[in-house]
Amino acid sequence: MVKRGQIEAIGLVVIVVLLVLLGLFFLKYSGKGDVDEDRFLTIKANNFLNALRQVSIGGSSFEDLAIECCSGGSSCAQIESSMVANGATYLDEDFYFELKCVDESNSVVKSTNCSSTVASGHIVLISGDEMFVKLCRNF
């Protein structure tokens, strides 16, 4: 016959084992977030923006056309179509793009519906206009 003390001892051992297992699962799922994925999405967003800035469109660079667009020129549609086409071809994620003109007259925006994004750094053009990209998180 098992004594009462022995039953309690077994109970304690079972509780300790369960607590250890719970602790292990907690350690497994805590502290491993999406930080790493964010880092690579940021690299990708920065690479895209840096590349887009220099892409040649009909003899001019994207940057030159963006400056022209912000100063009231007619190149806004051209840079918008180039940005959308390049994004669709060279990014695997949906993206948000904004060219923010200094005087806020002729900004170009490509919006997206995703709720969670990772942003690139802002590139400030010689004219003071800014552009940046946000990539959608796929996870």
Binding site: M1, V2, K3, Q6, A9, I10, V13, V14, V17, V20, L21, L24, K28, D36, F40, I43, K44, N47, F48, N50, A51, L52, Q54, V55, S56, S61, N86, T89, Y90, L91, D92
Partner: protein
């Protein structure tokens, strides 16, 4: 059966049950640890491969330069074509920009993973800059 024998049997049963519980715990812990190590290893390989997109796009051997000085944040197409010289060991990977293979050591891996990043590619002859896809497979 004597009282002493009964007590010995009780103790033996308790030790047996506790040993089984500990053995099951150890097996669970071992499997968990092995799975965790495998996950960590896969995560490490993923990070290493994805990080290559940043390293490759900043290699002086590939970047556009004038008189040996880096000129642009672009990859020189002609440098990319002659890059595959075996100087770098990136492990079991295939790295390519558009159609140009920079490094190929996949060794017929059945299941591969892929990460890509846009880069600027310059044709030094026409001086035309276009966007390209730098793809790392591992």
């Amino acid at each position: 059966m004597k009282k002493g024998q009964l007590q010995i049997q009780e103790t033996a049963i308790v030790i047996f049950i506790v040993t089984i519980i500990i053995a099951i715990s150890l097996i669970v812990f071992y499997r968990y640890t092995v799975d965790d190590i495998k996950d960590d290893n896969a995560r490490y390989l993923d990070e290493k491969a994805k990080g290559l997109t940043e390293i490759i796009s900043n290699l002086p051997e590939l970047k556009v330069s004038e008189m040996g000085i880096e000129a642009d944040w672009c990859i020189d197409e002609k440098k990319a074509i002659v890059f595959n010289n075996g100087f770098y060991d990136f492990g079991q990977k295939r790295i390519k920009i558009n159609g140009i293979i920079l490094y190929d050591n996949l060794n017929n891996l059945v299941e591969t993973r892929k990460f890509s990043s846009p880069v600027c590619l310059l044709d030094p002859v026409s001086e035309k800059k276009e966007m390209a896809k730098l793809v790392v497979e591992w």
